[in-house]
Amino acid sequence: MIDKRVPTAQEAVADIFDGATVMVGGFGEAGSPIELIHALIDQGASDLTVVNNNAGSGEVGLAALIKAGRVSKMICSYPRTANSTVFPEMYRAGRIALELVPQGTLAERIRAGGAGIPAFFTATSVGTPLAEGKEHRTFGETEYVLEHGLTADFSLIKCRRADHLGNLVYNKTARNFNPIMATASRTTIVQTDEIVRLGAIDSEAVVTQGIFVDRIVTVENPALESDLVHKGMSYP
Protein backbone atom coordinates (compact mmCIF):
# COMPACT_ATOMS: atom_id res chain seq x y z
CA MET A 1 0.00 0.00 0.00
CA ILE A 2 1.07 3.58 -0.58
CA ASP A 3 1.70 5.80 2.43
CA LYS A 4 4.39 8.43 2.05
CA ARG A 5 4.29 9.76 5.62
CA VAL A 6 7.47 9.53 7.67
CA PRO A 7 7.50 10.36 11.39
CA THR A 8 10.28 12.95 11.60
CA ALA A 9 12.23 15.43 9.53
CA GLN A 10 15.35 13.64 10.71
CA GLU A 11 14.27 10.38 9.04
CA ALA A 12 13.06 12.22 5.95
CA VAL A 13 16.48 13.68 5.14
CA ALA A 14 18.61 10.80 6.44
CA ASP A 15 19.91 9.63 3.05
CA ILE A 16 20.96 12.96 1.58
CA PHE A 17 24.56 12.31 0.66
CA ASP A 18 27.73 14.38 0.42
CA GLY A 19 27.95 15.99 -2.98
CA ALA A 20 24.20 15.80 -3.64
CA THR A 21 22.28 18.42 -5.57
CA VAL A 22 19.37 19.65 -3.47
CA MET A 23 16.57 21.90 -4.67
CA VAL A 24 15.07 23.97 -1.86
CA GLY A 25 11.64 25.52 -2.40
CA GLY A 26 10.67 29.00 -1.36
CA PHE A 27 10.98 32.60 -2.49
CA GLY A 28 12.48 34.48 0.43
CA GLU A 29 10.70 33.05 3.45
CA ALA A 30 7.45 32.24 1.62
CA GLY A 31 7.36 28.49 1.11
CA SER A 32 10.79 27.91 2.64
CA PRO A 33 11.00 24.48 4.34
CA ILE A 34 13.01 25.69 7.33
CA GLU A 35 12.49 22.61 9.53
CA LEU A 36 13.70 20.30 6.75
CA ILE A 37 16.76 22.51 6.19
CA HIS A 38 17.54 22.45 9.90
CA ALA A 39 17.23 18.66 9.91
CA LEU A 40 19.70 18.61 7.01
CA ILE A 41 22.13 20.75 9.02
CA ASP A 42 21.85 18.25 11.89
CA GLN A 43 22.32 15.36 9.47
CA GLY A 44 25.69 16.64 8.33
CA ALA A 45 25.81 16.15 4.54
CA SER A 46 28.31 18.46 2.91
CA ASP A 47 29.62 19.60 -0.47
CA LEU A 48 26.04 20.22 -1.53
CA THR A 49 24.91 22.06 -4.63
CA VAL A 50 21.76 23.95 -3.65
CA VAL A 51 19.16 25.37 -6.03
CA ASN A 52 16.97 28.13 -4.59
CA ASN A 53 15.86 31.52 -5.88
CA ASN A 54 17.82 33.28 -3.13
CA ALA A 55 20.59 32.43 -0.70
CA GLY A 56 18.88 32.72 2.66
CA SER A 57 18.74 35.50 5.22
CA GLY A 58 19.92 35.90 8.79
CA GLU A 59 21.56 32.80 10.22
CA VAL A 60 18.68 30.37 10.01
CA GLY A 61 17.32 28.07 7.30
CA LEU A 62 19.29 28.14 4.06
CA ALA A 63 21.67 30.84 5.35
CA ALA A 64 22.54 28.59 8.30
CA LEU A 65 23.22 25.65 5.98
CA ILE A 66 25.58 27.89 3.98
CA LYS A 67 27.20 29.29 7.14
CA ALA A 68 27.84 25.72 8.34
CA GLY A 69 30.01 25.26 5.25
CA ARG A 70 27.84 22.54 3.77
CA VAL A 71 27.11 24.22 0.45
CA SER A 72 29.84 24.29 -2.15
CA LYS A 73 27.71 25.87 -4.87
CA MET A 74 24.50 27.92 -5.13
CA ILE A 75 22.38 28.03 -8.27
CA CYS A 76 20.05 31.01 -7.87
CA SER A 77 18.75 34.24 -9.38
CA TYR A 78 19.06 36.64 -6.47
CA PRO A 79 21.56 35.91 -3.69
CA ARG A 80 21.18 39.43 -2.27
CA THR A 81 18.24 40.05 0.02
CA ALA A 82 17.42 42.04 3.13
CA ASN A 83 19.41 40.53 6.02
CA SER A 84 21.45 38.39 3.65
CA THR A 85 25.02 38.53 4.94
CA VAL A 86 26.15 34.90 5.11
CA PHE A 87 26.28 34.21 1.38
CA PRO A 88 28.03 37.50 0.45
CA GLU A 89 30.74 36.87 3.04
CA MET A 90 31.34 33.28 1.94
CA TYR A 91 31.26 34.32 -1.73
CA ARG A 92 33.76 37.15 -1.30
CA ALA A 93 35.98 34.77 0.64
CA GLY A 94 35.91 32.36 -2.30
CA ARG A 95 34.35 29.64 -0.16
CA ILE A 96 31.21 29.11 -2.23
CA ALA A 97 30.57 29.03 -5.98
CA LEU A 98 27.66 30.81 -7.65
CA GLU A 99 25.80 30.00 -10.84
CA LEU A 100 23.61 33.04 -11.44
CA VAL A 101 20.50 32.31 -13.53
CA PRO A 102 17.71 34.72 -14.50
CA GLN A 103 14.63 33.89 -12.43
CA GLY A 104 12.43 32.83 -15.33
CA THR A 105 15.21 30.77 -16.89
CA LEU A 106 15.81 29.12 -13.51
CA ALA A 107 12.11 28.24 -13.26
CA GLU A 108 11.99 26.96 -16.84
CA ARG A 109 15.19 24.93 -16.44
CA ILE A 110 13.68 23.22 -13.39
CA ARG A 111 10.38 22.66 -15.18
CA ALA A 112 12.29 21.22 -18.17
CA GLY A 113 14.29 18.94 -15.89
CA GLY A 114 11.09 17.53 -14.46
CA ALA A 115 9.52 17.23 -17.91
CA GLY A 116 12.32 15.27 -19.60
CA ILE A 117 13.32 18.24 -21.76
CA PRO A 118 17.14 18.36 -21.86
CA ALA A 119 17.38 21.83 -23.40
CA PHE A 120 15.30 24.70 -24.77
CA PHE A 121 15.81 28.12 -26.33
CA THR A 122 14.88 31.39 -24.61
CA ALA A 123 15.36 35.05 -25.45
CA THR A 124 16.09 35.88 -21.83
CA SER A 125 19.67 37.11 -21.23
CA VAL A 126 20.60 37.51 -24.91
CA GLY A 127 23.09 40.37 -25.18
CA THR A 128 24.05 40.18 -21.50
CA PRO A 129 27.02 38.64 -19.68
CA LEU A 130 24.80 35.72 -18.60
CA ALA A 131 24.49 34.58 -22.23
CA GLU A 132 28.23 34.51 -22.83
CA GLY A 133 29.54 31.15 -23.99
CA LYS A 134 26.06 29.80 -24.66
CA GLU A 135 24.79 28.58 -28.01
CA HIS A 136 22.81 31.31 -29.80
CA ARG A 137 20.27 30.79 -32.53
CA THR A 138 17.81 32.99 -34.38
CA PHE A 139 14.20 31.89 -34.86
CA GLY A 140 12.08 34.34 -36.84
CA GLU A 141 13.72 37.70 -36.16
CA THR A 142 14.66 37.09 -32.54
CA GLU A 143 17.86 35.74 -31.11
CA TYR A 144 17.72 33.07 -28.42
CA VAL A 145 20.15 31.15 -26.20
CA LEU A 146 20.11 27.46 -25.43
CA GLU A 147 19.51 26.61 -21.76
CA HIS A 148 19.60 23.17 -20.17
CA GLY A 149 17.13 21.33 -17.97
CA LEU A 150 18.03 21.14 -14.30
CA THR A 151 17.44 18.11 -12.08
CA ALA A 152 18.39 17.29 -8.51
CA ASP A 153 18.95 14.29 -6.28
CA PHE A 154 16.61 15.67 -3.63
CA SER A 155 14.16 18.49 -3.18
CA LEU A 156 12.96 20.01 0.09
CA ILE A 157 9.42 21.29 -0.30
CA LYS A 158 7.02 23.15 1.96
CA CYS A 159 3.27 22.95 1.48
CA ARG A 160 0.10 23.87 3.33
CA ARG A 161 -1.78 20.57 3.16
CA ALA A 162 -1.09 17.03 1.94
CA ASP A 163 -2.73 13.62 1.83
CA HIS A 164 -0.86 10.36 2.37
CA LEU A 165 -0.57 9.74 -1.39
CA GLY A 166 1.44 12.93 -1.68
CA ASN A 167 -1.09 15.26 -3.26
CA LEU A 168 -0.20 18.80 -2.19
CA VAL A 169 -1.70 22.29 -2.07
CA TYR A 170 0.14 25.44 -1.08
CA ASN A 171 -0.55 28.77 0.61
CA LYS A 172 -0.72 31.82 -1.68
CA THR A 173 2.70 32.95 -2.97
CA ALA A 174 4.41 30.21 -0.92
CA ARG A 175 3.72 28.02 -3.97
CA ASN A 176 6.52 29.63 -6.07
CA PHE A 177 9.28 27.11 -6.95
CA ASN A 178 7.95 24.24 -4.81
CA PRO A 179 5.74 22.44 -7.38
CA ILE A 180 8.32 22.48 -10.16
CA MET A 181 11.14 21.37 -7.88
CA ALA A 182 8.98 18.42 -6.78
CA THR A 183 8.91 17.29 -10.43
CA ALA A 184 12.63 17.73 -11.04
CA SER A 185 14.20 15.78 -8.18
CA ARG A 186 14.74 12.07 -7.82
CA THR A 187 13.56 12.14 -4.19
CA THR A 188 11.02 14.76 -3.12
CA ILE A 189 10.81 15.43 0.63
CA VAL A 190 7.85 17.49 1.81
CA GLN A 191 7.00 19.28 5.02
CA THR A 192 3.32 20.06 5.42
CA ASP A 193 1.38 22.06 7.98
CA GLU A 194 -1.16 19.24 8.06
CA ILE A 195 -2.11 15.88 6.58
CA VAL A 196 -5.75 15.53 5.58
CA ARG A 197 -7.79 12.42 4.78
CA LEU A 198 -7.76 11.11 1.22
CA GLY A 199 -10.35 12.97 -0.84
CA ALA A 200 -10.26 16.10 1.34
CA ILE A 201 -8.17 17.88 -1.30
CA ASP A 202 -10.38 18.68 -4.30
CA SER A 203 -9.20 16.60 -7.29
CA GLU A 204 -9.59 19.70 -9.47
CA ALA A 205 -7.34 21.77 -7.19
CA VAL A 206 -4.39 19.49 -6.50
CA VAL A 207 -1.24 21.46 -7.37
CA THR A 208 1.43 18.77 -6.91
CA GLN A 209 0.27 15.28 -7.79
CA GLY A 210 1.33 12.43 -5.52
CA ILE A 211 3.43 10.87 -8.28
CA PHE A 212 6.07 13.54 -7.67
CA VAL A 213 6.29 13.07 -3.89
CA ASP A 214 8.31 10.52 -1.93
CA ARG A 215 8.20 11.51 1.75
CA ILE A 216 5.92 13.71 3.84
CA VAL A 217 6.58 15.05 7.33
CA THR A 218 4.04 17.04 9.29
CA VAL A 219 5.42 20.23 10.82
CA GLU A 220 2.43 21.71 12.56
CA ASN A 221 3.61 25.20 13.36
CA PRO A 222 6.46 25.90 10.97
CA ALA A 223 8.83 28.70 11.96
CA LEU A 224 8.89 31.90 9.96
CA GLU A 225 12.32 32.97 8.75
CA SER A 226 11.57 36.65 9.39
CA ASP A 227 10.53 35.90 12.99
CA LEU A 228 13.72 33.96 13.65
CA VAL A 229 15.87 36.64 12.02
CA HIS A 230 14.07 39.37 13.93
CA LYS A 231 14.82 37.53 17.18
CA GLY A 232 18.47 37.29 16.14
CA MET A 233 18.43 33.51 16.21
CA SER A 234 20.99 31.33 14.55
CA TYR A 235 20.88 27.60 13.85
CA PRO A 236 21.99 25.32 15.31
Partner: protein, 226 residues
Amino acid sequence: MSEAVIGLTRDEMAMRAALDIPDGAYVNLGIGIPEMVAAHVPAGREVIYHTENGLLGMGPSPTDDGDPELINAGKRRVTAIEGASYFHHADSFVMIRGGHIDLCVLGALQVASNGDLANWSTGGPDAIPAVGGAMDLVAGVPTIYVITQQTTRDGKPKLVEQCTYPLTGRGVVDRIYTELAVIDLSDAGFQLVELTDGIDFGYVQSRMDASLAPIAERQEDSVHAT
Protein backbone atom coordinates in the same frame (compact mmCIF):
# COMPACT_ATOMS: atom_id res chain seq x y z
CA MET B 1 21.60 68.71 0.76
CA SER B 2 24.24 70.04 -1.59
CA GLU B 3 21.77 70.59 -4.39
CA ALA B 4 18.20 71.93 -4.56
CA VAL B 5 15.59 69.48 -5.85
CA ILE B 6 14.86 70.30 -9.46
CA GLY B 7 11.90 68.81 -11.33
CA LEU B 8 9.49 66.12 -10.17
CA THR B 9 9.63 64.23 -6.90
CA ARG B 10 9.78 60.44 -6.94
CA ASP B 11 6.06 60.27 -6.32
CA GLU B 12 5.34 62.76 -9.12
CA MET B 13 7.46 60.72 -11.52
CA ALA B 14 5.38 57.66 -10.68
CA MET B 15 2.22 59.71 -11.15
CA ARG B 16 3.34 60.89 -14.60
CA ALA B 17 4.12 57.31 -15.68
CA ALA B 18 0.75 56.11 -14.37
CA LEU B 19 -1.01 58.42 -16.85
CA ASP B 20 0.29 56.20 -19.66
CA ILE B 21 -0.93 52.88 -18.25
CA PRO B 22 -3.92 51.96 -20.44
CA ASP B 23 -7.22 50.70 -19.08
CA GLY B 24 -7.33 46.90 -18.93
CA ALA B 25 -3.55 46.45 -18.99
CA TYR B 26 -1.72 43.58 -17.30
CA VAL B 27 1.26 45.24 -15.67
CA ASN B 28 4.39 44.20 -13.79
CA LEU B 29 6.01 46.87 -11.63
CA GLY B 30 9.67 46.72 -10.62
CA ILE B 31 10.98 47.46 -7.14
CA GLY B 32 11.40 51.08 -5.97
CA ILE B 33 9.75 54.05 -7.69
CA PRO B 34 7.95 51.73 -10.18
CA GLU B 35 5.99 50.22 -7.26
CA MET B 36 4.53 53.66 -6.55
CA VAL B 37 2.87 53.75 -9.99
CA ALA B 38 0.02 51.51 -8.77
CA ALA B 39 -1.27 54.20 -6.40
CA HIS B 40 -1.64 56.74 -9.21
CA VAL B 41 -3.52 55.01 -12.01
CA PRO B 42 -6.23 57.49 -13.11
CA ALA B 43 -9.79 56.86 -11.90
CA GLY B 44 -11.90 54.75 -14.25
CA ARG B 45 -9.02 52.56 -15.41
CA GLU B 46 -8.75 48.95 -14.26
CA VAL B 47 -5.21 47.62 -14.24
CA ILE B 48 -4.20 44.12 -13.13
CA TYR B 49 -0.84 43.72 -11.47
CA HIS B 50 1.35 40.67 -11.87
CA THR B 51 4.17 39.80 -9.52
CA GLU B 52 6.62 37.22 -10.81
CA ASN B 53 6.57 35.18 -7.60
CA GLY B 54 3.18 33.78 -8.56
CA LEU B 55 0.29 36.19 -8.20
CA LEU B 56 -1.94 37.86 -10.78
CA GLY B 57 -4.19 40.47 -9.18
CA MET B 58 -1.83 41.95 -6.62
CA GLY B 59 -3.46 44.55 -4.38
CA PRO B 60 -1.93 47.24 -2.14
CA SER B 61 0.03 46.69 1.07
CA PRO B 62 -2.04 45.14 3.86
CA THR B 63 -3.52 47.45 6.48
CA ASP B 64 -2.87 44.77 9.11
CA ASP B 65 0.18 42.48 9.53
CA GLY B 66 -0.70 40.66 6.32
CA ASP B 67 0.36 37.12 5.49
CA PRO B 68 4.12 36.40 5.38
CA GLU B 69 3.39 34.00 2.53
CA LEU B 70 1.57 36.65 0.46
CA ILE B 71 4.42 38.79 -0.79
CA ASN B 72 5.59 40.56 -3.93
CA ALA B 73 8.80 40.18 -5.94
CA GLY B 74 10.51 42.59 -3.55
CA LYS B 75 9.49 40.22 -0.71
CA ARG B 76 7.20 42.80 0.88
CA ARG B 77 3.77 41.75 2.13
CA VAL B 78 0.92 42.62 -0.20
CA THR B 79 -2.76 41.78 -0.65
CA ALA B 80 -4.72 40.08 -3.43
CA ILE B 81 -7.77 41.51 -5.19
CA GLU B 82 -11.01 39.62 -5.77
CA GLY B 83 -10.42 37.55 -8.88
CA ALA B 84 -6.72 37.08 -8.11
CA SER B 85 -4.99 33.78 -8.82
CA TYR B 86 -1.88 32.01 -7.55
CA PHE B 87 0.44 29.87 -9.69
CA HIS B 88 3.94 28.46 -9.61
CA HIS B 89 7.06 30.12 -10.93
CA ALA B 90 7.19 28.35 -14.30
CA ASP B 91 3.61 29.38 -15.03
CA SER B 92 4.38 32.90 -13.84
CA PHE B 93 7.15 33.23 -16.39
CA VAL B 94 4.91 31.79 -19.10
CA MET B 95 3.04 35.08 -18.63
CA ILE B 96 6.27 37.09 -18.85
CA ARG B 97 8.32 35.20 -21.46
CA GLY B 98 5.24 34.41 -23.55
CA GLY B 99 4.45 38.09 -24.05
CA HIS B 100 1.19 38.06 -22.07
CA ILE B 101 2.09 40.89 -19.68
CA ASP B 102 1.36 44.11 -21.57
CA LEU B 103 3.67 46.51 -19.85
CA CYS B 104 6.47 46.61 -17.31
CA VAL B 105 7.85 49.60 -15.41
CA LEU B 106 11.43 49.25 -14.20
CA GLY B 107 14.21 51.22 -12.60
CA ALA B 108 17.55 51.75 -14.33
CA LEU B 109 21.23 52.23 -13.72
CA GLN B 110 21.76 53.22 -17.36
CA VAL B 111 19.71 53.48 -20.54
CA ALA B 112 21.50 53.80 -23.86
CA SER B 113 20.34 55.65 -26.96
CA ASN B 114 19.66 52.32 -28.72
CA GLY B 115 17.30 51.24 -25.92
CA ASP B 116 19.79 49.04 -24.10
CA LEU B 117 19.04 48.76 -20.39
CA ALA B 118 21.44 48.13 -17.52
CA ASN B 119 19.72 47.78 -14.16
CA TRP B 120 21.07 44.73 -12.34
CA SER B 121 24.76 45.15 -11.66
CA THR B 122 27.43 47.82 -11.58
CA GLY B 123 29.89 45.11 -12.53
CA GLY B 124 32.14 45.96 -9.60
CA PRO B 125 34.68 43.30 -8.64
CA ASP B 126 33.28 43.03 -5.11
CA ALA B 127 29.58 43.21 -6.08
CA ILE B 128 27.40 40.17 -5.39
CA PRO B 129 25.75 39.56 -8.77
CA ALA B 130 21.96 39.25 -8.51
CA VAL B 131 19.58 39.48 -11.43
CA GLY B 132 16.15 38.21 -10.33
CA GLY B 133 13.48 38.47 -13.02
CA ALA B 134 14.71 41.62 -14.76
CA MET B 135 16.20 39.90 -17.81
CA ASP B 136 13.05 37.82 -18.31
CA LEU B 137 10.84 40.90 -18.05
CA VAL B 138 12.73 42.94 -20.65
CA ALA B 139 12.96 39.93 -23.00
CA GLY B 140 9.28 39.01 -22.73
CA VAL B 141 7.18 42.09 -22.06
CA PRO B 142 6.40 44.03 -25.24
CA THR B 143 6.42 47.51 -23.67
CA ILE B 144 9.09 48.55 -21.18
CA TYR B 145 8.90 51.87 -19.34
CA VAL B 146 11.74 53.08 -17.17
CA ILE B 147 11.45 55.50 -14.27
CA THR B 148 14.75 56.97 -13.22
CA GLN B 149 16.49 60.10 -12.05
CA GLN B 150 18.36 61.82 -14.85
CA THR B 151 21.67 61.31 -13.04
CA THR B 152 23.18 59.31 -10.21
CA ARG B 153 23.53 60.92 -6.78
CA ASP B 154 26.98 62.13 -7.71
CA GLY B 155 25.75 63.68 -10.94
CA LYS B 156 26.72 61.05 -13.52
CA PRO B 157 24.19 60.86 -16.37
CA LYS B 158 22.17 57.65 -16.57
CA LEU B 159 20.98 58.29 -20.13
CA VAL B 160 24.06 57.54 -22.18
CA GLU B 161 25.32 56.83 -25.66
CA GLN B 162 26.34 53.32 -24.68
CA CYS B 163 25.91 51.41 -21.39
CA THR B 164 29.10 50.76 -19.46
CA TYR B 165 27.41 48.50 -16.92
CA PRO B 166 26.47 44.90 -17.78
CA LEU B 167 23.24 44.83 -19.82
CA THR B 168 19.86 43.56 -18.68
CA GLY B 169 18.64 43.51 -22.27
CA ARG B 170 19.41 44.92 -25.71
CA GLY B 171 17.18 47.59 -27.27
CA VAL B 172 14.32 46.93 -24.89
CA VAL B 173 13.35 50.34 -23.45
CA ASP B 174 10.41 52.18 -25.02
CA ARG B 175 10.00 55.23 -22.80
CA ILE B 176 11.77 56.91 -19.88
CA TYR B 177 10.22 59.04 -17.14
CA THR B 178 12.72 61.26 -15.31
CA GLU B 179 12.29 64.17 -12.95
CA LEU B 180 12.94 66.47 -15.91
CA ALA B 181 11.21 64.92 -18.89
CA VAL B 182 9.46 62.10 -20.68
CA ILE B 183 11.79 60.67 -23.32
CA ASP B 184 11.05 58.03 -25.95
CA LEU B 185 13.51 55.67 -27.56
CA SER B 186 13.19 55.99 -31.32
CA ASP B 187 15.26 54.63 -34.18
CA ALA B 188 17.22 57.88 -33.98
CA GLY B 189 17.87 57.56 -30.26
CA PHE B 190 16.56 59.63 -27.35
CA GLN B 191 13.53 61.64 -28.41
CA LEU B 192 12.01 64.25 -26.10
CA VAL B 193 8.24 63.83 -25.60
CA GLU B 194 7.48 66.22 -22.77
CA LEU B 195 9.30 68.61 -20.45
CA THR B 196 8.51 68.96 -16.77
CA ASP B 197 7.05 72.41 -16.05
CA GLY B 198 9.81 74.93 -15.65
CA ILE B 199 12.50 72.75 -17.26
CA ASP B 200 14.01 73.65 -20.62
CA PHE B 201 15.42 71.43 -23.35
CA GLY B 202 19.00 72.55 -22.80
CA TYR B 203 18.92 71.57 -19.14
CA VAL B 204 17.70 68.05 -19.89
CA GLN B 205 20.33 67.70 -22.64
CA SER B 206 22.99 68.85 -20.21
CA ARG B 207 22.08 66.05 -17.82
CA MET B 208 22.61 63.32 -20.46
CA ASP B 209 25.63 61.75 -22.08
CA ALA B 210 23.89 61.30 -25.41
CA SER B 211 22.10 63.43 -27.94
CA LEU B 212 18.44 64.30 -27.29
CA ALA B 213 16.15 65.06 -30.24
CA PRO B 214 13.67 67.87 -29.61
CA ILE B 215 9.93 67.27 -29.42
CA ALA B 216 8.76 66.11 -32.82
CA GLU B 217 6.27 68.26 -34.74
CA ARG B 218 3.80 65.40 -34.94
CA GLN B 219 4.02 63.16 -31.89
CA GLU B 220 4.40 59.44 -32.56
CA ASP B 221 2.32 57.53 -30.09
CA SER B 222 3.31 54.05 -31.10
CA VAL B 223 4.98 53.09 -27.84
CA HIS B 224 1.70 53.56 -26.00
CA ALA B 225 0.07 50.66 -27.78
CA THR B 226 0.53 47.19 -26.33
